[in-house]
Amino acid sequence: MTCHDARELLSALLDDALSADERQRLLEHLATCSDCARERDRLAATVTLLRSVTPARAPAGFVDRVLAATRPAPWYRRWLRAALLPWPVKVPIEAAAIVLLGIGVTYLYQRTPELRDAARMPSPVEHRAPKPSEPDETEKVQDSAPLQANVDSLRSKDSAARSNEQNAVVGSQKTEAFGRGRAFDADSRKPDDFKDRERDTLARSDVEASRDKFKRDVGAPERREGGPAAQPAPATAPPASSTLSTLPPAPATPPPVAVTPPVAASAPSAARGSVSEPQAKEQAARNLTAPQDRASPQATTPDTHAQRAPLPQAPAAGAPAQKTAKALDARVESRVAKMRRAPDVIGRLSVANRSEAEHALLELVARHTGTLVDRRVDGDSPVLTFDVPRASYVAFARDLAGLGRFTADREPGASGDVVEIVLTLE
């Protein structure tokens, strides 16, 4: 046995864990090898030292703590643990709560701008000067679609039509505001003078748009006028009153030339009563008597503006009137109301001299307290649109026959305070 083999067995020799043969051969080697014998003694001393270590003792109360830990918990504690603590229950609930919270936050985040826009929409309407005849603001924001759908019934009910026409004003402005987007909201925050200017521009562009619509609906021969649908007003724009006086009666109902709606022909719009309001009358009188200084705008605007020649007898003293918000709103409402109905009478007046006949016609309109609404040129023929009080219509028609050969394609209905006439001078 070598020393290496002997030392591998020394530990087992101390524990008496060797076989008899191993023990015998090891003892023989140790008897002849002093180094291995000394190593055995050192190893035995180490084991003695290890076995002399004081045994460890469990801390006091250890048994009680172990027994308490192994004792079954009270029923209510077990029930609570079963109801609240298990992960298979808590984790899905918490995950679902987090997901729902995220969905809710996302939904609100996406919806908030729309809600803000919806809340801002009434602001331009509220900014307008309040009118005694205006209904509640909450009625104004109603959609104007019901008006379109119920034109027949609305025409037979004056008050209802009046209210809905005002709704139409709001609807038109609302649509305009939607088209303009956030710029409209930004404009609404400007100071009042800017607001007035912006509203004036808005009204003019709206007028242009409605005129183009009217051309499309009627198939108007004014196609050669071309030009942008909503051409911006020039810097030297005429007064709002002059501009508004040229508004065409762009109908929201089917075109009167192509298809004649029976109701529209037989029952003139009761809503037309709003046109005969004192304010509108005053405006009409001013249109007939006040001079129209259109030289500069016509010189700077192509086609469309150039076609609208100034009225012959229109005085030239048309200095820009002071545009108050209230008056402008009234004009816008009147214009929109006209846009939403068809003319009562469409006729032709064959004359020898159109210029003289037009002068005479305007005098006739003024004599019968009528209002010139629009003038345009269809080819070489001037087309005049004006309102005449129903009471004066018979006398007006009789006098009109004196100017030339008058033929009417449509005759006015039995209701309404005003008869709207579109007359082409041939």
């Binding site: 087992a12 076995r51 703590r65």
Partner: protein, 180 residues
């Protein structure tokens, strides 16, 4: 205490039998945990866990091994798992053990010498690899036989003898100054 009789009572759910088991083996189980982990609080936690596990699974214990061997096997496995899992080291062992030795010292001069010797001994133990330390603890501190150690740790007898030899040789080199 007769282990076979105690095991029968434990399987029957006798609370008194479990209490007797805890009282009989608490110091040995705690001692193994303390020598292996070096921290009294951690050793108590492991020892308590050992008895809780025994209480929970004693009904399924087949009795192939001795009840004490089963207890030592659970204790050894929990200690080795704890040492391997948390990347922990055998720290503050001497301080914890010194406190215990100081309380037991009756003769001040002898107690001081004894405390220094045991402190050096535990430092040497702490420096052993875990698989060698558990063998020397079970054999030289707890007095288990080679066969019991083999059964407790699931090792071959030759492996136990080899590990024990290497552990003792290493300790002899570390404790050379304390040897007579």
């Amino acid at each position: 205490m007769h282990e076979a009789e105690l095991l029968v009572r434990l399987r029957a759910g006798d609370a008194g039998a479990f209490e007797e088991l805890v009282i009989a083996y608490q110091h040995r189980v705690f001692g193994i945990a303390l020598r292996m982990l070096g921290r009294r609080a951690e050793a108590e936690e492991i020892a308590q866990d050992v008895f809780v596990r025994v209480h929970r699974s004693v009904a399924g214990f087949r009795g192939d091994a001795k009840l004490s061997t089963w207890l030592y096997a659970i204790t050894s496995r929990l200690c080795l798992n704890r040492l391997a899992s948390a990347d922990r080291r055998f720290t503050q062992a001497s301080e914890d053990l010194v406190v215990e030795l100081r309380d037991e010292a009756a003769d001040p001069p002898s107690a001081l010498e004894r405390r220094e010797r045991e402190a050096a001994l535990h430092r040497a133990l702490a420096e052993l690899p875990d698989d060698r330390r558990i063998v020397v603890v079970l054999r030289d501190l707890e007095g288990l036989s080679y066969g019991e150690i083999s059964e407790t740790l699931g090792l071959e007898l030759g492996t136990v003898r080899s590990r024990l030899h290497r552990a003792r040789t290493e300790l002899r080199e570390k404790l050379e100054k304390l040897l007579p």
